[in-house]
Symmetry: C2
Subunit: 252 residues, 2 copies
């Protein structure tokens, strides 16, 4: 019932593409700056450019994609400042979530949450991208339990944006402590002290942001100039030239 209302409500084709792209983005299969040509998307998903275009529009409204007139759409590349601001908003929103949830979750819901954290635990050995996605989905799951469509939508949206940001700024993802914090959060929710759990959430998100955005004034390398700086004085090509697939994509 409460479902949907995250997409636009239009067809399912647009929704499908949105979901697929969203997931690809937050799993870093599509890195920030990666090009998203309408034709390619259309062909890939078996629809016309019209639909692909519409999907890109939705994603742009969510802030996951950047649309520039007459230019190929690209995965959004939030600035450090935007990242910081986004986290600030997220903190307030998620404080609201847990305050509404404290002491009001059923046993089944608590079990669901703990199950999810177990999944996070299980994914610890695997690729970073999956860990980040699962961590994000934990928060979305929490929001879903408020059953407030508006809150669900905003938390999801902003959590995905934060996810994108994390993939941009923090390469060595340290999710171990985060997982533990998720467990503490669930316990506090069960105990039921609203302010206590709000404060826990605040510190949790604060430290996630901190771990990622440690006083880094610039993105860690999305800027082509930064990436190339160390190589600037190397000789043109170390003979391994021809086989190099032209696969830059991200960062143009």
């Amino acid at each position: 019932m409460v479902r949907d209302r995250g997409e636009n409500g239009s067809s399912d084709k647009v929704g499908t593409i949105c979901r697929a792209l969203r997931r690809a983005i937050i799993e870093q299969a599509l890195e920030p700056g990666a090009k998203l040509p309408e034709d390619a998307l259309g062909e890939r998903f078996g629809v016309s450019r019209t639909i692909a275009r519409h999907a890109l529009g939705q994603l742009a409204a969510e802030g996951l994609v950047e649309l520039r007139r007459n230019r190929i759409a690209v995965v959004a590349t939030p600035s450090w400042q935007e990242a910081r601001d986004t986290f600030d908003i997220r903190i307030e929103l998620e404080r609201l979530v847990v305050r509404q949830l404290a002491g009001r979750l059923s046993k089944a819901q608590l079990a669901t949450l703990r199950g999810h954290v177990d999944a996070e635990d299980a994914a610890r050995g695997g690729p970073d991208a999956v860990s980040i996605r699962l961590a994000t989905e934990f928060h979305v799951l929490l929001a879903t339990m408020t059953e407030s469509p508006v809150l669900i939508r905003y938390v999801s949206e902003i959590a995905y944006r934060c996810c994108l940001t994390l993939s941009l700024f923090s390469r060595p993802h340290s999710s171990e402590c985060a997982i533990n914090e998720h467990r503490l959060l669930i316990d506090a929710l069960e105990a039921g002290d609203g302010e206590k759990v709000a404060s826990l959430m605040h510190h949790h998100l604060d430290s996630v942001a901190e771990r990622a955005l440690v006083a880094q004034a610039k993105p860690r390398g999305r800027d082509i100039m930064d990436i190339l700086a160390p190589y600037a004085d190397m000789t043109p090509a170390p003979a391994g030239g021809p086989g190099r697939k032209r696969r830059l994509d991200a960062a143009e």
Copy 2:
């Protein structure tokens, strides 16, 4: 510079339509439930259905429009519960805004704000719709001064949704006190105590919501059954039949 990034970034045609519709909605020129056929919009704005459709998609993403498959799009009709939730979110977001702004506004900015409130004052005699719009725009103006694109976007979006809600639930708009609260807010912002002004904002929005949503369990009449209840036992038609223009529109 910081401008835009509220639309989608695509053409300007889509943006123009979005702006126009948004304004029409928050001024109640288009009431909740009003139909928005693609052809009509396209013709009105001199574009094809494709563009009108895209614009509707954007507005749906903002929650101002409801899109149902194969059905004419309509202006959103938020439920009472959604309205309450929306205001809760808004409170947190705007507390964030004023906390960031407290003591940091230039003289020019303070003057701009006071000028806006003067405009609100001047509009007191006029139509309710304009008062509501101006009050909403005051909050958007505040958000803009944070220069945080993310915050600006979310506050604007949610303020417009609240605006829509207000038009739905509170007919006798009592904006006089709100205007005064705006002045107090500005003074507190100038003084610079972040927590003080956050608390002021909290109470301001709380009372706005309260004035509008006073324990009303259902929308004040958007439901056709409610509207018709008092008339249910009247005779079919009091002879004034033929001339009645079929102008229901809202509430189908």
